[in-house]
Amino acid sequence: MNIKQYILIASIGFLLFSCGEQAGKTEIEVDIDPPEEPTIDIREKSDKITKIFFNIPSPIETSKILQDAGATYEFKLPSNPSAVDDYQSIVEQSLNMGIYGADLNYASVFDQTTETMLYLQCARTLGNNLGLGQVFDEETIDRIDLNLEIKDSMQVIITEIFWEMNSYLEEEGRQSISALIILGGWVEGVYLSTQLAIIAPDNEILKLRIAEQKYSLTNLIGLLNSYEDDDISPDILEELQELDAIFNNITAVKTTGENHKDENGVTTIGGSIKLGMNDAILGEITAKVVEIRTDIIN
């Protein structure tokens, strides 16, 4: 096989695997002798595996939950946008991308246009530093300019920006960076929730939403543990495990219920889980989250 044939095969390979779903349907056809043995020995047939993934609600979802719980926008709570240039390492940039991302969603859901722009700029700066500058292309910037005052459209754009970042990281095999962004976003979401609970101590729905974070923390630790990577430091995991130990003091009483489907095809998954979290536990969670967040933003 000469060099021209290599180039031809490389070109065909590139075209096949870079054209989205069509590529996946296409048989690989190259002009060579019929194979006597398996040619694309990607994996033995007998070698089957089960993959396990973890994920948690996104910051946009958490911000909506806060809004539904009757929370308010508090200007003093989100992270300082001026600090964006202080984050130099990839780990710092990734974690603070999550922090700013949560602040961006908080500002957007509560219709704070100036803050939305400020945190978008932070996300863009850190995105560039993390090699994700392509997400903020000209088209996206134009869409932001056109839709800045339209809350629903902005939320779609913000969601798309974070999806693009996430998917580029996955494509490039940098999932641990993605996990750190998720971690930063979750910490900021719980920080905002617990600080808002101090401002509104009688808001029981807000307290329930904080207690429910025990589920997300379990998944988050599972997610981080799935990456044997230097980016996920044992210190971060240890901090989260200490927080998890506090969350484990929350009691859960489960009552089974029936599932039913309505006329629109929506299934209601029945049953209730009553969580019990007293003020002491809430205080411990609040303090621990402040500690973790302070380590991230300073």
Binding site: M1, Y6, A10, G13, F14, L16, F17, S18, C19, E21, A23, G24, I28, V30, I32, E36, T39, I40, I42, E44, K45, K48, I49, T50, K51, I52, F53, F54, N55, P57, S58, E61, K64, I65, D68, Q155, T159, E160, F162, W163, N166, S167, Y168, E170, E171, E172, R209, E212, Y215, T218, G257, N259, V266, T267, T268, I269, G271, S272, I273, K274
Partner: protein
Amino acid sequence: MKNLSLIILLSVLIPIGINGQCRGFTKKTGRPLVEPYIHNGQMNSAVLFPGDSADIMLTFYSEQQYRLVICAEEQLGDVSYKVSDIERNLIFDSKNSDSNVFDFIVESSQQLVISVAVPKSEHTHEIDFQGCVAILVGFKN
């Protein structure tokens, strides 16, 4: 020798291509199915082989309505999925509905496990083609 050359070349090309393919596939095929729900912006996708399975553990809040979308590349065949609670009690099985979309509400916030299974290949040769499987979540109040 020709075969060996091809194997080496494709082994370099395929990992790059498949990952990009998964992203493009999810964007073009999966995300439109989430509408009119708001996509939560998360990328849950994996490249799987026939016979593989994948479990994903997710948290869902009460008082939100969710749409779960499972999409898989055609070469993987009829990919099925199940939704179970954390104690593995079955809630939904796609084999009973023939749909890759599941709309639901949880009365109480909880973790659910989504289990995706790729059917075994019917080919007699010892090679399987991999493909992308994407799990997407949308929500609305």
